[in-house]
Structure formats: structure tokens, C-alpha cells
Amino acid sequence: MKNILLVAAREFRQIAGMRSFWLTLLIIPVSIVIGALVPQLVQNDDAARVMVIDRTGGAEARAIAQRFELERDRDLLNDLSRYVQRHHLEKADMQAPWAQHDRWYSDAEVARFVADGGVEAAKAKIARVKPDATPEFEASKPDYEMVPVPASLASAADASLDEALKPVLKPTAKDVKPVDYVILVPADFGASPLVRLWANRQPSPRFMSNVQEVLTRDLRARYLTAQGLSPDAARTAATIAPALAISTPPPGGGAREAMLVRSILPIAAAYLLMMSLMLSGSWMLQGTVEERSNKLLETVLACISPEELMYGKLLGTAGVGLFMIAVWIGCGIFAAYATHGAIADMIRPALDPLTSPGAIVALLYFFVVGYVTIAVLFLAIGAMSESMRDAQGYLMPVILVIILPITILMQAVLGGDGGGVLVEVLTWVPIWTPFAVLARLGLGIPAWEVIATGVILAAFTAAELVLLGRLFRASLLAQGQKPNMREMLSRMRAVQN
């Protein structure tokens, strides 16, 4: 055991001494930070400026403005609800819509929120129960700002607007703010459904859907009025819509979103397993190839057995892989603290699978055994290769065989339908079992299946260690051409060389 630890420590030190190790170790946290910062840096926080030239008398422009106002209030209500949930401030007013979470707020509820005084009234209620340490609620900026129509445009003929709007959409003067969207509702709107939109960029789907909805309602009301319905009845008919009472079932109840959140941690574990394996595995491979090509194996084997060398290398590499994962998790925890719990709140539902000791054991078991199962393949490849070029010949097919189905597996699990037959098949094939079981832990996998696949994986790994151990031992001092399949099988059969 002492020799195994000595070899493992040397392997660890060797890999940790490589520049590529530290680059790889840091690349994930750095890329996550960049990923989080870049959208904020490039994001345009300014509200999109909207101008509506309404030739019908102003009703359409008002309807559109009201709609944007409603959506703005709905956003505020949602933000407020998340703030209240994060800081556990529901007792400020248990009946208020913002004290009920994870739901869709209907137009009526938003209207009630506004009628009750909106954000300011809510903040006043919250202030009575809010501890001093809890930060104030800060309302986000609105998405849209309505811009009045200048007299020159209001009086301009429709046909001349193309030319007249150019300086409005793309002003040449630096201190003039551009208008992002200009909507023209022609005088014959109703008789004709045509409405024109100028935009200085690709219109956002949300903007389009809001405008479309407002104008569609009005178009229908106008049509119904033309058919003889009273204007009030026509307006009412146009706004008739089912009132969907939406609530999110508790986790485990089958809601897709909840399940996806619960799957984050297991799927992340499967991804981390794959990434750390591919990275540390290739370093281990390099180390083994170096020992062969530098001709130091004989010196080593005079002191320790091939088995001690193999287990030491496996342990050292597993240590590297686990160290990388520990650092990444550490960065995650640091980020959770650094963001005052905002990230922690988001990932709390993802930690649900860890509430059961069985799930924790399964997560650790499949992670560690999965690591050994795949790492020993890299080790055998290293022992058979005289150089890294030799090793690539074996490595590429092995990596493809491992990674391709896993990529499909992840997609299938994220697809949310449980993955179907493919995922079931991958669960039972030992080299993919760790990834499949890890990925499925959040979705719910029957306990008997976890145990059965765990037992099969253990048996497979034990057999693999024996057979690839023989291949490793027999290949260490073998010279000459790369062994073919027949030679490999013969080395696996050789009990002692």
C-alpha cells in the first residue's frame, strides 16, 4: 500500500507541475465568470424607445402603451416575488400576490397589485418585517419607453415616412437618442389589417407578441362592431380568454421544470466525471508513455510490482480528477457567497437529490467507480504505446465510443421525457452506466435499477482491472510493433509473463 501511495503522490505532483493542468483547472471558473460577465457587459440596459404613429385617433397607441405598462408591472411583481422568496419575507402580507411564488400572474392579479399601490406599497409592507441586514428591493429598469410623435412626423404623409424616419431610427448627431421601434397604425386600420413597423434592429419576440396581441384584439373588436355588435360587447368578445390557473406541483410530482432543476446536480456530476476523466486520463496516458519511452520502467519494476504501479497511477490520477472537481465546486461555493446567496437560491432546488442519503451514496459510488472503469482503459493504452502518436491510434476510437453516446444521453435526459429506450440501454452497459445513472438520478430512477447496475458495474470493473491489469503488466516491457487485437487478447490471458 505504501508503494501505491508513493506512486500516486508522484503522479499527482507530476501532473500538478504541468502548466496545462493549471490552465485547464482555471479555464472552467474563468470561462463561467466570463460567460456571466459578458452578457452583462454587452447587454443594453436602456429601455427600448417605442413611437406609435396612430392615424386612427390615438386609441391604438394608448392600447399599446397600456400593454407595455401591464407587462412592466408583471415583471415587477415577479421580481418582487423572487426577492420575497429569497429573503423569506412572506409574512409581510401572506395574501399579497408577491407572497405566492413560482406561478404565472394573471392580468387581474397584476391589476390588483397595481391597485394596491404597486411596488411602493409592497415595499412599505415589507419594510415592517424586513431585518436590517436584508438588502432593499431594487426594481429593474423597464423594457420599453414610449416616445411622443413629433409634429413633423404626425403630419407627414404615410408614403414619405420611409425617408422621414431614417434620422429618427439612426440619428447622425451623437447626443440624439435613436428610436428603436416605430409603429404606424394607418387611418383605415380595421378595414385593412395592415400595420407597419420600422425597427433599427431585429425586433424582440416579446415586443412583437405584445404588439400583435393588442392590435389583434382591436382588429377583432372593430370587425365585430362592423358585424352589428355593440362596441362594448365587441371589445369584451375580443378580450375573452381562458383564465389559466397555473401552479407548480412540488418536486417529484412530474413537472418538467422542477425535474430539470433537480437534474442539474446529477447531470453536472456526469459532465464533471467525463471532463475530469478526459483531462486527467490524458495526462496519465502521457505519464505512462513517458515512462515507456524514457525507458525507466525497468528501474521502477525492480522496486515495485506492476500492480502497485498500476494502482498507484490510478489513484494519483483519480486524485488529480477529484482535486479539479473540488476546486470547481469550491469556485461555485465562493460564487454563491459572493453573490449574497442569489446563486445559492437558484441552485437550492438542484440540491434536492442530496436530501436522501441513498442518493448521496449512489452519486459518490457511480462517480468513483465510473472514474476507475474508464481511467484503467487509458492506463492500458499508455502501457501499450511507445509514443503519444502510438497512443492516439488507440485513444480516438475509445474516446468516441465513450463520449458520443454520453452526448446523446445528456440531450435525451435534458429533453425531459426520461430518455426512453436509449437511456435505458445505456444504463445497463457498464462503460456508460456511471454517466447514465448519474444523469438519471434527478429524474428518478428505480432503486432496484440503481443497485442492479451498480453490482454489474462493480463486477465489470473488477474483471476489467484483472484483464487490463494483465495487459498492462505484459505490455510494460514488451517491445516492437503495436500489439494487434490477437496479441492484446493473448496478453490478457497471460497470468504471469
Binding site: 508503494n3 508513493l6 508522484r10 507530476q14 507541475g17 504541468m18 513517458e290 515512462e291 519511452s293 524514457n294 525507458k295 525507466l296 525497468e298 528501474t299 521502477v300 519494476l301 525492480a302 522496486c303 515495485i304 510490482s305 502497485e308 516491457l477 504471469q496 509473463n497
Partner: protein, 305 residues
């Protein structure tokens, strides 16, 4: 008790019989030469002694035990094909191998530092191997074999690839270890080294033992040769197998290369000359080299495979 004993050991790789019924033993404190051409079975035999490979048949005893890693703390080994971890420092490398041989880390570092100092590498303790010259790396490799002050030092073609300075250093270390009571077994196909260092020799050809004994006994395997200056032809003397005229000396005397019959001592022939008043101006025994013995017993090193 022998430090190393092989009894009827054979090793077969598929169709090739690499070592064939080999038996020998090495007594404590001996410098034992293992001589043979390329492919004669030297490395295979040494690997079996170290338990890197197992014999097909026969029995091996090392330091009174079966071969195995339990012997590692008392064995030093320098393989024919040498290499080191390129990113490790010289001192760390020696310490690592010391620890693999069961030494405490402090002892291994102390002994490693002492060896590096003795080998003139005191300034290179912290240099990584890839920064060392080839000659320096060879010294570090030698230090990894010596760090545990082994009772049995096994050297496989130790002089191969060494520059003359390091060859001298290695010879000195072999003598130092021998004087300290260690047993040294080394394989070589360079006869001069064996001639200078070995107490006993084993000549190997095609995996089989061809000869085992002292250097003198080895020389005794060849008929004695004389360099003689005489007026008459020495081939008339009893015990002389042949005499070749190799040219004129001064005043009518001639030089002769004389080969004696096997088993005939040069002293007997000299005695005969005196008795028969066979006139001589020079009577000198020619020293037979180990190379000649090897070629006589095994064939040329190249053909002895």
C-alpha cells in the same frame, strides 16, 4: 550462504528459449561478471533475479529468499536501458527511488545528497533532469541504484553509453561497494571491464552457460602461448603444438610465436630447454586476453547470440 543462486533455470518466450538450464551461484563479496553477446540471455536472467519476469522452470534464490519486491531494500539495480522522470529534480528522483526501496524520506534525501556531492553534482540538486547533460543524468541514474547502500548490486551492461569519465566513476564505485562488502553482479559484452573488475566470470552463449570460474581458470581454457627468441625451431620441443617464425632478430637469432599443447605449463618447456641446452635469448609467456578466451569458448561476441 550464496547471495544469489540459480538452479536449472530456463525461460521461454513463445518459440524462443532465451535462457536454457542455467545454474550458478554468487558468493558474498564477489564481483561477478555475466558475459555474453547480444541476445545471450543476460538481461533475461537478471530480470528473473529481480522478479520482473518469472522463469519457465527452475529455482532462483536471492539473498536467501525467492525473488520478489521484498528484496528491493537490499538490492541496487542499474538497467541497460536507462531513463529518468524528466520533470523531477535530481535529488527528488534519487529520494523517490530510495523510498520505493523502503527508505525513510529523510534518509533517502541525505544519502541522495551525499551521492550527488560525491559525483560532482552538488550544484544540481534542484535541477530537473531535462536540464542536465547526458553525463550528469547518467550519474543521477547510478545514484538511484546506490542510494539504499545495497547488499547486492545488479548492473546490466553498466558501461554501455557512458562517457570515459563516467566509466571511470562507475569502476570506482564498483570497487568502493565491493570493498564495503557488497556483492556485485554485472553483465557486459566488453571484456576489458570484466577483466579489470571481476573475481568470477560466467560466459553465456545462446542462453546456456559455457563457462564459470575465475579469470585464471578462464585463461586456462586456452593453450599457453610463448614469445621466444632462439636459433633453432622450438617446434622440436616436447609439448609444443606449433611454432611460427615471426622474423629475424639480431646476429642470426629468430623470433618465434609458440603455442603449447593444451595442459602443458610454460615452466615445463623452459625446464626442457635448459636440460637440452636449447639456446634462448628470450622466453616470455604471452598473457591471454579474456576476449581470446571468450572467442574460443563462445565465439565472437557478435556470433554468440
Amino acid at each position: 550462504m550464496s547471495v544469489l543462486a540459480l538452479e536449472r533455470v530456463s525461460k521461454r518466450f513463445d518459440e524462443t528459449l532465451a535462457v536454457d538450464d542455467l545454474s550458478f551461484s554468487v558468493e558474498p563479496g564477489t564481483v561477478f561478471g555475466f558475459l555474453g553477446g547480444n541476445g545471450a540471455g543476460k538481461t533475461t536472467s537478471l530480470r528473473m533475479v529481480l522478479d520482473i519476469i518469472r522463469p519457465t522452470s527452475g529455482r532462483i534464490e536471492v539473498l536467501g529468499r525467492a525473488p520478489g519486491r521484498a528484496n528491493a531494500p537490499e538490492i541496487g539495480f542499474l538497467p541497460e536501458e536507462r531513463g529518468l522522470y524528466r520533470q523531477m529534480t535530481a535529488l527528488d528522483t534519487i529520494t523517490y527511488f530510495g523510498r520505493l526501496k523502503g527508505m525513510a524520506v529523510a534518509d533517502a534525501r541525505k544519502e541522495g545528497a551525499a551521492l550527488l556531492e560525491r559525483f560532482g553534482l552538488a550544484a544540481n540538486f534542484k535541477s530537473t533532469v531535462d536540464k542536465l547533460s547526458k553525463g550528469m543524468a547518467q550519474k543521477v541514474q547510478l545514484a538511484t541504484a546506490l542510494v539504499n547502500r545495497p547488499r547486492l548490486l545488479i548492473l546490466d551492461e553498466p558501461f554501455a553509453g557512458l562517457d570515459p569519465v563516467n566509466q571511470g566513476l562507475l569502476e570506482e564505485e564498483i570497487r568502493r561497494m565491493s570493498a564495503a562488502g557488497a556483492t556485485i553482479v554485472f553483465s557486459t559484452h566488453v571484456m576489458q571491464h570484466a577483466e579489470r573488475l571481476c573475481d568470477r566470470l560466467l560466459l553465456l552463449g545462446k542462453g546456456r552457460k559455457k563457462f564459470e570460474g575465475t579469470l585464471e581458470e578462464a585463461r586456462g581454457e586456452l593453450p599457453a602461448r610463448l614469445s621466444v627468441v632462439a636459433k633453432q625451431d622450438p617446434s622440436t620441443l616436447a609439448g609444443v603444438e606449433s611454432a611460427t617464425d615471426s622474423g629475424a632478430a639480431e646476429d642470426g637469432w629468430r623470433r618465434w610465436d609458440v603455442r603449447l599443447d593444451p595442459g602443458v605449463a610454460p615452466g615445463d618447456v623452459l625446464e626442457q630447454c635448459t636440460a637440452q641446452q636449447f639456446q634462448l635469448r628470450r622466453f616470455e609467456q604471452v598473457q591471454i586476453s579474456l576476449h581470446d578466451v571468450f572467442v574460443h569458448i563462445v565465439g565472437t561476441p557478435e556470433t554468440a547470440q
